[in-house]
């Protein structure tokens, strides 16, 4: 095995330029594909987080009696999917608004009358936080007599989900494309090396070398190229990520969410995948070349 490895390394050294180009091309492929995956992972995470925090605001019609309000509360709590319904009086709503407006709360002091409606804030059971269930629940609640309006950010959740789905689709397509590109690139490089070595390979066969003896160094070369390329691609992406988060990420990270990089284990998996893909490239070439 060690000798196979040395032969593979010697081939790589003899074809440095070719190998370098291959590694860089593989790196670029991986970088683009991984950038997409990273976007996808983060967008999914954000979506998930938003959904975790989803609350439904149920605004009541003006001048609802105390009894009717109690009644509505009971009805809300009996609807499947509702975890908790909390009453928010007009005064409490105004206080919240004051808190959110911070320095501009003086504006609110001039109000003669509290314009905010009474409301219920509803938290939902975990399995009801997807946009279809939300829509269904909202419709049911909106049908209640005392309810004027239901709000849960229906529009942007729907749109964001659609966009994420679109991107993940594009991500898969691009990932598949780059997978094939990487196989092709490595296969091509190995083919060139095989071509340069054809005489030698023929002689090896004539003197009784087994197929394994001839093939293994090429498999190793493919794997090394795939692995190095992936490592380089991921490394560059990580540098880009670190740069970006240093530059703009911090305020965003604290307020809303953190943009994450792949966990170490995933990175290792991707590099391993790169090696497998490199191996596949070699396999394709050897299959063609050695009949």
């Amino acid at each position: 095995m060690k000798r196979f490895f040395l032969r593979a390394l010697k081939d790589i050294r003899d074809n440095r330029f070719l190998t370098a180009i291959t590694v860089i091309t593989v790196a670029l492929s991986i970088m683009i594909a991984a950038a997409f995956a990273l976007f996808f992972v983060n967008a999914g995470g954000i979506l998930n987080m938003w959904q975790q925090g989803i609350r439904m605001m149920v605004y009541l019609t003006p001048q609802v009696s105390e009894a009717a309000r109690q009644d509505t509360m009971a009805q809300l709590q009996s609807i499947a999917g509702v975890q908790e319904a909390r009453y928010i009086s007009s005064e409490e709503a105004l206080e919240r608004l004051r808190g959110q407006m911070q320095h501009h709360d003086a504006l609110l002091d001039n109000l003669r009358r509290n314009p905010l409606p009474e409301a219920f804030e509803i938290t939902l059971q975990a399995d009801r936080r997807d946009s279809t269930s939300l829509q269904f629940l909202a419709e049911r609640i909106a049908n209640l007599e005392t309810v004027a309006d239901v709000e849960y950010g229906q529009e942007w959740i729907g749109r964001f989900t659609a966009i994420v789905n679109l991107f993940s689709l594009a991500g898969y397509a691009i990932g598949g494309l780059f997978f094939m590109a990487t196989v092709f690139i490595v296969a091509n490089t190995i083919r060139l090396v095989l071509y340069a070595r054809r005489e030698e390979i023929e002689i090896m066969r004539l003197v009784g070398a087994t197929d394994r003896f001839i093939r293994v160094p090429f498999y190793l070369q493919g794997m090394i190229q795939g692995g190095l390329g992936t490592l380089l691609g991921l490394g560059s992406l990580l540098l880009g990520y670190l740069y970006l988060t240093r530059q703009f990420g911090d305020p965003m990270a604290t307020e809303m969410f953190t943009i994450r990089f792949f966990p170490v284990l995933t990175c290792a998996g991707i590099v391993l995948g790169g090696m497998v893909v490199g191996w596949l490239g070699s396999w394709v070439s050897l299959k063609q070349f050695l009949k």
């Binding site: 000798r3 030698e200 090896m204 066969r205 004539l206 003197v207 009784g208 070398a209 003896f213």
Partner: protein
Amino acid sequence: MTDTRDEAIIRLFHVHKRYGAKAALQDVTLEIAKNELLFVTGRSGAGKTTLLRLLYLGEAVSEGQILVDGMNLSRIPRARVPTLRRKFGIIFQDYKLIPTKTVYENVALVLEAAGRKPSVIPKKVRSVLRIVGMEDRMNAFPPSLSGGEQQRVAVARAAAGDPKIILADEPTGSLDEEAAGLIMSYLDTFHTRGATIIVATHDKELLKRADTRVVQLRDGRLLPPAPV
């Protein structure tokens, strides 16, 4: 040659080889004994190289059967071809040395390919290069060697794996008499060490040797042995 049947290492039965419409060998039946030194002669195009190629499955026969050291060549699965080829050491008509590898590496390659232990290879390579007088040119590349020197390296490579059979295709083809004699003496060395040796040649000088069997090909057919 009374009863060599049991000692035969190579047997050909009614072997034919055709390249398209061209018949390169026709109905060749031949036995070669263990540790025999055999000359195969005939004009250019008579089928000498073809005969040798059939033995190590460089080509498959069109018809007939060949047995080599107990292996029936028409029944060997692909995976066993290396096993067959390791029985041979081959000196090719065009040498087939790898120009980008040193003399040492060229010889060592055979041993590596045959799966020899890495620890024994350097010693073996040196010893066989010493026999053909090329030990001091170990680190040279083949293109920088003379024809005779390349031929000596080819002999060393063929003999390095201690093969049972050495095939030599025109080993003295382009050499002067002295160089040719040297090559033959190396082959004799390996012959006395137990190898079966088959030499394809049209070198009249070589054929003058009294002690060896000569078979002659003409247009792909084996001529009956000349009466002595």
